[in-house]
Symmetry: C2
Subunit: 158 residues, 2 copies
């Protein structure tokens, strides 16, 4: 198996396939509104919105990790891992570990004091994997979303 | 009561006081490593790391909302509300609502498809407040942190 490498624009179509595959796994098949052109633009402009690592097996991308910086009012800039995805047929073969290693090394390299991500609380294999790596799965912190229609409804009522 | 306004650099000392007050409320008194100079630099450089709104009562800042953009692989750029803080003595007087209104309006203005934030699952007043505004408190999504010492330990073991 290779080591992960930085994605190039030409990887984005496969990256989008894996994003879609994860959405389906999370029972949110229709939630992916991002397009190939969006990813190509957003990741490879003068002020990229994310950094993506890809991991190939036999010259085909089977795993990705997509990260960007956030701002903590406690720790200053921190690194956020938005997606860590391994194609279904390559799960359990160590690709996730290699990708997470790369992300944590990258966090150290850019000098952040925290790497954060989110996990579904019923995804026990993922939670066990993360905890085995020393991460703190904060079961008392929940994620809150106000989505597009929510934003519209909200603004109608103020 | 005034409407929230964009913070200026001179507000940051009061902003830091409120950040510290919230950390104490969340039983994390010693977690705030950010300094006044950090906030002044990070929020008011050429490429600001956050946008902060402040709300004054009698010419004194009693509430803040601090936001920045993230990247969703489903929705492209989204707005993240990192901190919504109202000073203890002004809680329950509508300051939080005004600040959240401002944040959601700002999200609409910059065209994001989602506003996100995080909440402690034992903070029922906050959860009720957010749900009353139409937000989706995703109790099955947990936040994961690998902090500074965790990063060091992680890297020793790969």
């Amino acid at each position: 198996m290779n080591q992960p490498r930085l994605a190039v624009k030409q990887d984005m179509s496969r990256v989008l396939e894996l994003i879609q595959e994860l959405a389906t796994f999370e029972k949110e098949t229709d939630a992916v509104e991002v397009t190939l052109s969006d990813l190509e633009k957003d990741g490879f402009c003068n002020n990229p919105k994310f950094v993506c690592f890809v991991l190939e097996v036999d010259d085909f991308v089977e795993g990705i990790a997509l990260v960007y910086k956030r701002y903590s009012t406690w720790k200053r800039e921190v690194l956020h891992l938005e997606d860590l995805i391994v194609s279904e047929k390559f799960r359990g073969k160590g690709l996730g570990t290699k990708l997470l290693d790369t992300v944590i090394s990258y966090g150290k390299e850019i000098g952040v004091k925290r790497v954060s991500w989110e996990v579904l609380d019923w995804n026990e294999p993922a939670i066990k994997f993360y905890e085995s790596k020393g991460a703190n799965v904060m079961r008392d912190w929940d994620v809150v979303h106000l989505d597009e229609s929510g934003i519209e409804n909200y603004l109608k009522n103020i």
